[in-house]
């Protein structure tokens, strides 16, 4: 059997997270000799999808080997700890560490299409945005956020005055998109207004009433309160939400990937490279790295793999968690609390078909402004992404709730727990309960909209920045992958070749 060290590798990719796997896809027709390794026994790295059994092993790893994973403080919560497996069948679940939704306007989708791997993925609609608003005299505490003019007209919850201001704001958004070339002074006034907080911007520019702050904020998926979210961050994201609707079908503007979200995209990228001749080795990360003399053009990096083999490669690409730690102290990471909760209800009411002829959504977004959880309103909101069993993440009759709040630690976890309690109260039958829950802190980079992240390139070693903590797919990942691709292609490939492939076999496109 030929051993790994017999090959002079052109590129070694360490880790199978989304960035590395998209790079694998980008290199799948390059003719380069690519070795792709991962220290874990599964694909997806920080974007993996896990069965219950795998989740248990993951918790142990995360807590034992601290700083080896971009996660901390993982625990599994069982409603009745006396019966550890609660009768749940481990492999009936595919719980995603990356439940990000993908906007129809995300650069990821054209990338998956031009590279032809989209055929191997199944996309499902994320339908409604709900906001928790405790009210008296109404049976429902969840209120559907209107996100189109039709929605606003049909809405019976907000006041007429609010409706008028909301329509004005929505009209303005669609106009500013259609008419980019507004007068210079108008432009600078607009830019100045955008430096304010979202709440101030909405009030001073459009007289939007405070009752609409939270609903509009939710469309931006901002993880700070309206008072603490800069308008220049939120407004383009609200615009993205609105202009994404209808792009791939009526009534929805974002999608999720069936079978485990980001993990599926990772695997499709890795398969593409495997089909193209790349070699895959799991359970074997990079243990140590010797860069040798840096300046020579043809210098090679020597890598020792955890499996004990020593290989040489021209380039090595990974994240801080997949490559030996740099000598300097690692930069500070942002932290958010996350949880994955299996509940014993299909929560059907959260997934209405949102437009005639539209698909049945498999995902919904439920937002709990801090105030609705009895907290000061400058605290960040809790987001719960609800996935139906149609996502194949759980058996039918159940659903999976992905909670997130940008407060790490115990405080964040109790906020999420409180939000889930309220969600079940208002949307599920009296018998609905939490069956199983995984809670953890995730490390990464918060997205502020201003600074573009960059790879750290040192000689032939390329490090991706920490994973994005955005709740929607962060398009900057594609730029990072493209930058890394450029380097390992020795800047010889032309930019339009990036991710542009023909089908490996003929397809009839009638379906």
């Amino acid at each position: 059997m030929e051993s790994l060290s017999d090959t002079q590798w052109d590129v070694t990719i360490s880790g199978t997270g989304i960035a590395q796997s998209l790079l694998a896809l980008a290199l799948s027709r390059s003719g380069k000799k690519v070795l792709h390794v991962d220290k874990s026994p599964y694909y997806g790295g920080p974007e993996a999808a896990l069965s219950l059994q795998e989740a248990e092993e993951w918790v142990t790893k995360v807590n034992q080997e601290t700083s080896q994973y971009p996660f901390e403080d993982a625990t599994i919560f069982l409603p009745s700890p006396s019966e550890p497996n609660s009768g749940l069948s481990s492999r009936a679940y595919t719980l995603s560490l990356s439940p990000q939704l993908i906007y129809s306007r995300s650069e990821l989708l054209p990338t998956l299409v031009s590279s032809k791997v989209y055929r191997q993925l199944e996309f499902q609609a994320v339908g409604s945005w709900w906001i928790h608003k405790p009210t008296t005299g109404r049976d429902k505490d969840l209120y559907r956020v209107p996100s189109s003019r039709e929605d606003v007209f049909a809405d019976d919850f907000i006041s007429m005055k609010s409706k008028r201001t909301l329509m004005r704001f929505l009209r303005n958004l669609s106009q500013s998109q259609a008419n980019q070339e507004s007068a210079e002074e108008e432009k600078s006034a607009l830019e100045e207004a955008l430096t304010k907080s979202l709440s101030e911007y909405l009030t001073t520019k459009f007289q939007v009433t405070p009752e609409l702050y939270d609903p509009l904020l939710s469309l931006s998926l901002s993880q700070s309160s309206p008072q603490r979210t800069v308008a220049s961050y939120a407004v383009p994201r609200i615009q993205r939400h609105l202009t994404s609707i209808g792009l791939f079908g009526p009534g929805f503007g974002s999608v999720l990937v069936k079978w485990g979200g980001g993990s599926e995209i990772s695997q499709v990228g890795c398969r593409a490279l495997a089909v193209g001749g790349g070699v895959y080795v799991l359970n074997s990360g990079v243990e140590s790295l010797n860069q040798g003399e840096q300046d020579t053009k043809n210098s090679r990096v020597q890598l020792r793999l955890i499996s004990g083999e020593t290989i040489t490669t021209k380039y090595v690409v990974g994240s801080d968690w997949d490559l030996p730690v740099l000598s300097q102290s690692p930069c500070d990471h942002d932290r958010v609390s996350r949880s994955i909760t299996i509940v014993s209800s299909s929560l059907d009411d959260l997934f209405p078909v949102t437009a005639e002829g539209g698909p049945i959504p498999a995902g919904a977004v439920v937002v709990f402004p801090a105030l609705s959880l009895g907290l000061a309103d400058e605290l960040p909101p809790v987001y719960i992404f609800v996935h139906s069993s149609e996502t194949a993440e759980c058996p039918s009759g159940e659903s999976v709730l992905y909670g997130s709040v940008s407060i790490p630690g115990q405080q964040g976890q109790s906020l999420i727990e409180g939000a889930i309690g309220k969600l079940l109260q208002s949307s599920a039958g009296p018998d609905a309960r939490v069956l199983w829950s995984l809670r953890y802190t995730q490390l990464g980079r918060a997205v502020d909209g201003d600074t573009r992240p960059a790879n750290v390139v040192s000689g032939n070693v390329i490090r991706f920045p920490p994973p994005s903590l955005d709740l929607s797919f962060d398009d900057s990942i594609i730029d990072l992958v493209k930058d890394a691709w450029n380097v390992v292609m020795d800047n010889e490939a032309s930019p339009e070749e990036f991710m542009s492939f023909t089908d490996r076999e003929s397809y009839d496109d009638e379906e």
């Binding site: 492999r91 009936a92 996309f123 791939f248 070699v279 437009a355 049945i360 149609e390």
Partner: protein, 257 residues
């Protein structure tokens, strides 16, 4: 919640992810090539990397589109299979009827699938290279067949063939394999990718064996058995979003169907 399907709609079509497992050189890729292209290549090179192919199988009530994942070539690191059998609804575990060790390997794969794959996965055990035995030679081919017996699996088979009856290289009896398959609840076939014998039958049998519930909910039986109708007529197609619709959708603002 969902509209009843109209009478004129075509047969429902479901995708089934099928993973192909088995020792090197048992003819996994050849089986798929026969099924997908109705073709056979003598002395096929080992598959480099892995392969992905699709083929439709039409049943009376629905169309099954197989998405076939061939792990070939990379068994040495056992690193692709975990990705392939995750979420797979069907598996084809192949051995070579002329090579007992390949059945042992096949049994390992079956055990691995039963441990790791989706609950409810349909597994078919397939003994390939029937053309090298007396059962499979039929009247189709004679000389060419003999050549391939030697060309295939250089080194591995030759000694074994010398002490067997001329013309019959069978080393694994049908009874042994079928008994095992029955015990484990597997579909069982003996095939020849070379002559095409039984190849389509394997895939048709798998298509028929996939439970309707697994096609709807995507996930095999598991904890949800018997509850699949809760969604009120939901099927995979109702929630699927087609990225190919982008052009049409932008042109007329929605209405992609």
């Amino acid at each position: 919640m969902s509209e009843p399907t109209s009478v004129n709609t075509p047969k429902p079509s479901s995708s089934v992810k099928l993973v192909l497992l088995g020792e090197a050189a048992v003819g996994k890729s050849s089986l798929v090539l026969r099924f997908v292209n109705n073709d056979f290549q003598e002395n096929k090179e080992p598959t480099i990397g892995a392969a992905f192919l699709t083929q439709k199988c039409s049943l009376p009530t629905r169309t099954i589109k197989f998405e076939i994942w061939d792990t070939a070539g990379q068994e040495r690191f056992a690193s692709l299979a975990p990705m392939y059998y995750r979420n797979a609804q069907a598996a084809l575990v192949v051995y070579d009827v002329t090579k007992p060790s390949s059945l042992t390997k096949a049994k390992h794969w079956v055990a691995e699938l039963q441990r790791q794959a989706s609950p409810g996965i349909v597994i078919a055990l397939v003994g390939n290279k029937l053309d090298l035995t007396n059962d499979g030679s039929g009247d189709i081919q004679t000389d060419a067949e003999r050549e391939s017996a030697e060309g295939d699996d250089v080194g591995n088979n030759q000694e074994e063939q010398e002490d067997s009856i001329p013309g019959d290289a069978r080393k694994v009896s049908t009874r042994e394999a079928s008994t095992y398959a029955e015990e484990e609840g597997l579909l069982f076939f003996e095939t020849s990718a070379k002559t095409g014998l039984n190849v389509v039958d394997v895939f048709t049998a798998i298509a028929n064996a996939i439970p309707e519930s697994s096609l709807k909910s995507g996930r095999g039986a598991g904890a949800g058995t018997g509850q699949t109708t809760l969604g009120g007529g939901r099927s995979t197609d109702d929630s699927r979003v087609n990225l190919g619709d982008r052009g049409a959708a932008t042109a007329k603002e929605g209405c992609a169907c």
